[in-house]
């Protein structure tokens, strides 16, 4: 296990180094931040002053070298736009996104798994057909459109739920969260639902397929023969077996939801990192973009590692192979 983790860490460092170079070159090639940052009536003198203070006139190789040297010391540069350390700006927004993504993943599990079991144990019945048709809708309706519809129905027409921002937040164990207040909680509902709809559909499909594949297997028959109740067979034995694909997929989804919850965050004016990265790309705020992508890449690496470890906990076969 230790060797396995060590090898993973070395791989991760290589991946990070390559990503930083690619992203740096890419961001550099897009455009000139001066054109965006400077006001329309800026004079040549101001232009020169900004160029010098942001080191935009250094050769690309030198800029990259400076970046690497500083990054190794934990300094990812200062945002051009906010004039604050890039990591600080990112980590300030990250909790809001984490909260949103975690909520929607929990929603997708507590709604998706029971519905998937229901469909899987009653194949080709009305229940099954209804659930599966519903899941197709969840999959195929564009996220953006769903969001607008949720706002139209629940905020504009019914007036039940707020549609923008995070509302009042409180602190629980030192973390600022929407769960601490009722107002914050209701603000969370619409965006979390919007983000969860596609995930719910995904979990339903994975669960249903898993259940259908597992039910005819020998160990289920054996369990039945031993007289174990159907309920226990489903909730313990079958459940544990089908969790592996679900954990894999949700692990990947968790990463991409954090990195790309952009659409939901934009529609619901949720102050998370997704919105930050889009704004930063539009403003050509290079330090934020580079630091953000490196943070996200590191996060994916960690998630994959966690998923691998979870596998071995869930499946004894993988554990024995590893040792």
């Amino acid at each position: 296990m230790t060797v396995f983790i060590l090898r993973r860490v070395l791989q991760a460092i290589l991946v990070l180094a390559i990503t930083s170079l690619v992203v740096f070159l890419g961001v550099y090639a897009i455009g000139d931040p001066l054109e965006i940052l400077l006001p329309a009536d800026a004079s040549m003198a101001e232009r020169a002053q900004v160029t010098a203070s942001l080191h935009l006139d250094d050769p690309l190789a030198l800029q990259y070298w400076n970046f690497i040297v500083q990054a190794l010391q934990g300094n990812f540069g200062r945002s051009f736009v906010f004039n604050r350390p890039a990591l600080e700006v990112i980590f300030e927004r990250l909790p809001a996104t984490l909260e949103l993504v975690t909520t929607s993943l929990i929603l997708s599990l507590i709604i998706g798994i029971p519905l998937g079991f229901l469909a899987g144990t009653r194949p080709r019945t009305v229940t099954d057909e209804t659930i599966m048709t519903g899941s197709i809708l969840g999959f195929s309706l564009p996220n953006f459109w769903q969001g607008m519809m949720l706002i139209m129905i629940f905020s504009v027409w019914l007036g039940w739920l707020p549609s923008t921002g995070r509302g009042d937040t409180g602190t629980i164990l030192g973390v600022r969260t929407s769960y601490a207040t009722w107002d914050g909680f209701v603000h969370l509902l619409l965006p979390a639902t919007n983000l969860a709809l596609a995930q719910i559909a995904l979990v339903i499909r994975l669960t249903r397929t898993g259940v259908q594949e597992t039910m005819p297997l020998d160990f289920v028959k054996y369990a039945r023969a031993r007289g174990i109740s159907e309920r226990r067979i489903l909730s313990v034995h079958v459940f544990k077996t089908i969790l592996i694909p679900i954990v894999t997929v949700l692990g990947i989804e968790f990463g991409s939801l954090i990195a790309f919850a952009v659409v939901t965050e934009t529609i619901f004016a949720w102050p998370g990192v997704g919105k930050l990265i889009i704004d930063s790309i539009n403003m050509l705020d290079r330090p934020i973009v580079v630091a953000y992508i490196l943070v996200i890449v590191s996060m994916f690496i960690v998630i994959n590692l966690v998923v691998d470890v979870l596998y071995s906990l869930l499946d004894p076969r993988i554990r024995s192979r590893a040792s």
Binding site: I30, G31, D32, P33, E35, I36, L37, L38, P39, A40, D41, A42, S43, M44, A45, E46, R47, Q49, V50, S53, L54, R78, F80, V81, F82, N83, R84, V89, E92, R93, A96, M148, I151, M152, S155, V156, W157, L158, G159, W160, P162, S163, T164, G165, R166, D183, T266, I267, F268, A269, P271, G272, K275, L276, D279, I281, N282, M283, L284
Partner: protein, 524 residues
């Protein structure tokens, strides 16, 4: 059916009243967010808008950028390089301390020294050679050279408290302890990406704002901002997209306020190189000469464009056809310089005279996310040029972050761009856009088409020395007539901007395109 509709409507109306009562007196949904509360960190429009809530300036700029005395009550020009400023008596900062000449000196000295500022106020104070405090409320300023626009320039710098801000960095201003101004509102909290809350300054030296507790929410997505207003979550929104104006205005309990902005959208025809990028002969080979160097060709292009159609169809009426740079409300606007009416026959004639009886090939370039309808505008221009007798090879619309760099580098022969006004008259527009490009002297910074007319340059430079604002405006009018006879660029239209408000609220804004809580009032 009708009954059912009425019932649904009634249910909808009653349900909006069930929304939780708002703690704030006024909630504003705003499209853009400032990058810092430090009023001297950046002078982009977003930042100036936020600064104007908490800080004052030596002069006030009204909704149409008109200048009135602010923290400086009056001023006189002792000789062309010496100014005496009389500061307003009895003004206090949010922390209760008195406003004095020291604060002005501190603020003006700091203005060009804010570290890492992406848009510094350097130019605003570059004319100042030295400042001398005569007494607590009198200040003598010496300039490097005669500077007729001194008050307009230093008047744009926000005044901060010497005592509260000395030695503080820009990020310290995010806390109310450092963001101490004399403005109509006092900062409470800024949650980046989320909200900005403030309370009224009851000791404000001018009119105390009507709404005491104000919350600004940052909602950058157009549809979401409109939905927030429709759902009653906010009372006012800015930047209502043109296509949603009828919807908002048609909703019971809401109305739209529109104003012409100072931003002119224009079509640039590059005279920069001997060949214009994207301009070809009829077979698609690059043209050996640059047709845009001929004024007849530029005029012909202008005559092909139906500005009224663009404004009506693409913008849904959210624009005013333009034939010059400065809109009607700005000083230096010349009512005699009218936008060209579409005249294809005349355009053809001019093209023939210029030696292109069958036209030439052209590619139209534009941004697609800079202002409402910019991508569609490029399409329409392409069609109009084709109708006018040119061969349109293509229309390319790109994100602004990519587009702006290439446009400044001269990669486009024919391109759509915009220029906003931030001063009470057209002088900076005429200088930055149409003066010969001269990097060393800092002239013509935005002259991307590289138009150059020495006679115009000389006349403009002479006008910029004028101290009397009325004489200056007259000179700017003459300059406008002079330069647009040569069609240096093709002005298209001035944008109109829209605010959506709940009935019972009014907003007093205009050219400046700001959304300030102090300018919102209950209807009489």
């Amino acid at each position: 059916m009708k009954l059912a509709k009425t019932a649904v409507l009634a249910a909808l109306l009653s349900s909006t009243w069930l929304m939780p009562a708002m703690a704030q007196d006024l909630t504003i949904g705003r499209a853009s967010e400032q990058s810092s509360i430090d009023p001297q960190f950046s002078r982009t429009g977003n930042n100036q808008m936020t600064s104007a809530m908490f800080f004052d300036r030596l002069v006030d700029f009204g909704p149409n950028l008109e200048m009135t005395p602010g923290l400086a009550e009056s001023w006189e020009v002792e000789n062309p390089t010496t100014w005496v400023l009389h500061l307003r008596d009895g003004v206090t900062f949010h922390d209760g301390s008195a406003f004095t000449a020291d604060d002005v000196i501190f603020s003006l000295e700091r203005a060009d020294e804010v570290p890492n500022s992406p848009a510094p106020y350097t130019d605003m104070v570059s004319a100042v050679a030295s400042m001398e405090k005569v007494d607590d409320l009198t200040l003598k300023i010496t300039t490097n050279a005669p500077a007729p626009t001194l008050m307009q320039d230093i008047g744009r710098v926000f005044i901060i408290s010497n005592a509260a801000s000395d030695g503080k960095a820009s990020e310290d201003f995010n806390s109310p302890a450092t963001a101490v101004g004399t403005g109509p509102y006092i900062l409470e909290e800024w949650k980046p990406g989320e909200t900005l809350t403030m309370k009224a300054n009851d000791a404000y030296w001018a009119d105390v704002p009507e709404f005491k507790d104000v919350e600004i929410r940052y909602i950058s997505n157009d549809a979401a901002r409109v939905a927030a207003l429709l759902s009653g979550a906010v009372d006012v929104i800015d930047a209502v997209p043109p296509q949603d104006v009828p919807r908002v205005d048609g909703t019971d309990g809401l109305h739209v306020f529109s104003a012409a902005s100072g931003r002119v959208i224009y079509f640039g025809l590059s005279m920069r190189f001997d060949q214009a990028p994207g301009v070809t002969d009829l077979d698609g080979n690059p043209l050996s000469e640059n047709p845009f160097k001929d004024v007849r060709v530029r005029k012909a292009v202008s005559l092909m464009i139906d500005r009224k159609l663009i404004v009506d169809r693409i913008l849904g009426g959210s624009g005013v056809p333009a034939g010059q740079l400065a809109g009607e409300a700005l000083g230096g606007h010349n009512p005699d310089v009218k936008p060209d009416e579409v005249d294809v026959a005349k355009a053809k004639e001019l093209l023939t005279e210029a030696g292109y009886p069958n036209g030439f090939g052209i590619t139209v370039y534009s941004s697609n996310d800079r202002f409402p309808g910019d991508g569609d505008l490029a399409q329409a221009l392409g069609q109009m040029l084709a109708r006018g007798g040119l061969k349109v090879n293509g229309v390319e619309a790109l994100p602004y972050s990519v587009y702006s760099k290439a446009a400044s580098a001269g990669d486009y022969g024919a391109f759509v761009f915009s220029l906003g006004a931030s001063t009470p008259n057209s002088a900076p527009l005429l200088q930055a856009l149409l003066h010969t490009y001269d990097k060393d002297r800092g002239m013509g910074a935005f002259n991307r088409v590289r138009f150059s007319d020495p006679a115009y340059d000389a006349a403009l430079e002479e006008a910029l020395q004028e101290f009397d604002p009325e004489v200056l405006d007259a000179k700017l009018q003459d300059l406008t007539t002079m330069v647009f006879a040569e069609q240096p660029i093709v002005p298209l239209y001035w944008q109109k901007v829209h605010w959506g408000l709940k009935d019972g609220l009014n907003i007093n804004e205009g050219l400046s395109e700001q959304t300030l809580p102090q300018n919102v009032s209950s209807a009489e």
